[in-house]
């Protein structure tokens, strides 16, 4: 029983078809342990966003099962933090209000005003965007909006964290800094996380396992173990032999599947 309760996020025989009847996601089967983090990499249109949307409960129908610790993911008690590919910020709310709204919805009772405000400030600071608190999303750059979306996802302290290419709009330097910040934050609050990226390096840097999605919908994804690299100190990862080996392995899978 206890193994079932702490079994993490299990995705069983998940398939998604949109109304047009065309398959958006072929068969996906894997289990992500609780407090684990997997990265997902795949060609455009392979269904990465669709997979996250299914887990987030945004698709009305799909085939297969989505369980978190033995119960449906869409149970009220499983809180899901989502960073959508389009950032998903409400344009009519300031940065601070965007985060506050999410926090108020997820913690309706308890939690004083000051505690919430302090939390918001803390997360904005850790994303390096404290000075943007009063700005509206339309006046922010893509990278700034992404950081707000990440701050919001962390701020609600979710059980499951879903990130859809959260660093895609950042320059290389900011990106590396944020990968470090993200990992540090995740290590202190290890939500069960799925991290979609199209960057091979990022996939190796941030995932305990790497899910490589196939381009053909009848194919199933290839899952590579990455614990060796993940266990290293973050600054050392890039220069290690394991990192190099891993990226060679991924490229080989990509050549075969894409």
């Amino acid at each position: 029983m206890s193994s079932l309760r702490n079994s993490g996020l299990s995705i069983k025989a998940l398939q998604v078809e949109y109304k047009s009847g065309q398959k958006a996601l072929g068969q996906v089967d894997f289990t992500l342990p609780e407090h684990g983090i997997y990265t997902i990499i795949g060609p455009s249109g392979s269904g990465k966003s669709t997979l996250l949307r299914a887990v987030a409960g945004l698709l009305p129908d799909y085939e297969g099962e989505l369980l978190f610790n033995g119960k449906s993911v869409h149970d009220q008690e499983t809180l899901i933090g989502l960073v959508p590919q389009n950032y998903g910020l409400l344009p009519w709310k300031t940065v601070r209000d965007n985060i506050r709204v999410a926090m108020k919805i997820t913690r309706p009772v308890g939690g004083s005003r000051e505690a919430i405000e302090a939390d918001i400030t803390h997360w904005l600071q850790s994303m390096g965007i404290a000075e943007l608190a009063g700005r509206y999303p339309l006046s922010l750059s893509g990278g700034q909006q992404q950081r707000v979306a990440i701050a919001r996802a962390f701020a609600i302290r979710p059980a499951i964290l879903l990130l859809d290419e959260p660093f895609s709009a950042l320059d290389a330097i900011t990106r590396e800094a944020l990968q470090q910040i993200f990992l540090d934050n995740w290590l202190t609050h290890p939500a069960t996380a799925l991290f979609v990226t199209h960057d091979v390096e990022e996939a190796i840097l941030l995932g305990q396992k790497i899910v490589v999605m196939p381009s053909a919908k009848h194919d199933s994804p290839e899952i590579l173990d990455n614990t060796a690299v993940f266990a290293m100190k973050h600054e050392k990862k890039r220069d290690s032999d394991e990192f190099f080996e891993q990226s060679k392995r991924i490229r080989k899978v990509m050549l075969a599947k894409w």
Partner: protein, 250 residues
């Protein structure tokens, strides 16, 4: 920044206002007839109106407009929202709106008077009728124009329908609602004038027609000026709301 740009705007308005008075004065000189008094005479008449009298008439007119607008907003928001969010309700109500929209609402004035008498109810109802259909249509289109993905994050964290309404639907549709109010406010004020001709002893429409019957032309013009001022203030109010709630677009 804003203040710097607002000052020339005010000056321009003032300049146009002075020019209009000048044209008026020239027309007065050319006509030289009591039906068109000089601007000076009208302003003098305006200052001789009792403050209490003016406040009462303006107050009545404003109250009727506010009640009408509020009713139209409440009902229109409800129906428009229903049509915007539910395809079923849209299919049911769309033909109704489509068929009733082209009816000139002012033509319903006698009907409303028959059903609701000559009192306050029929006056407020007329204003509501004028605004209602515009509000319904604009709310529906405004709600439909909000991309479905805007709701995603709130949906994924389990927000209730009410929370989605307050945080997404209403603010998303607000800009369309405000511009609709701005557009239909002019019509609403005209209709108010008609409804204030009968069955009341208060309101700007009554005041103007009363002066006209008494052949007190300066006072009649003073009434028209005041009525215009009421309209102007209402427009400013919508502008202020727009400025306050639409900051995010700038």
């Amino acid at each position: 920044m804003v203040k710097k740009r607002r000052l020339p705007h005010l000056l321009r308005l003032l300049f146009v206002f002075l020019c209009m008075n000048l044209v008026w004065y020239i027309a007065y000189l050319l006509m030289n007839h009591p039906i068109l008094p000089s601007p000076g005479a009208v302003y003098e008449a305006m200052f001789h109106l009792g403050a209490k009298d003016v406040a009462l008439n303006v107050g009545y007119s404003l109250l009727r407009i506010f009640e009408g607008v509020l009713l139209a907003l409440l009902i229109g928001l409800l129906i428009g929202l229903l049509m915007g969010r539910s395809p079923l309700w849209n299919r049911l109500l769309d033909p109704v709106v489509y068929l009733t929209y082209p009816i000139p609402k002012i033509a319903l004035l006698p009907v409303v008077m028959l059903f609701f008498g000559l009192g306050e109810t029929s006056k407020v109802l007329m204003i509501m009728l004028i605004l209602l259909f515009q509000v319904i249509i604009s709310v529906r289109d405004g709600v439909k124009a909000i991309p479905e993905s805007t709701y995603d994050v709130l949906t994924s964290i389990g927000a209730s329908a009410g929370q989605k309404f307050w945080n997404v639907t209403l603010p998303g549709a607000l800009s369309v609602i405000l511009s609709t109010i701005r557009i239909s406010l002019g019509t609403a004020i005209s209709v108010l004038f008609f409804t204030e001709i009968y069955g009341t002893e208060h309101g700007m429409g009554f005041f103007i027609m009363d002066a006209w019957l008494r052949l007190d032309y300066p006072e009649m013009y003073a009434g028209i000026m005041l009525f215009s001022l009421v309209g102007f203030v209402l427009f400013l109010l919508v502008d202020v709301l727009d400025y306050k709630f639409m900051k995010w677009r700038r």
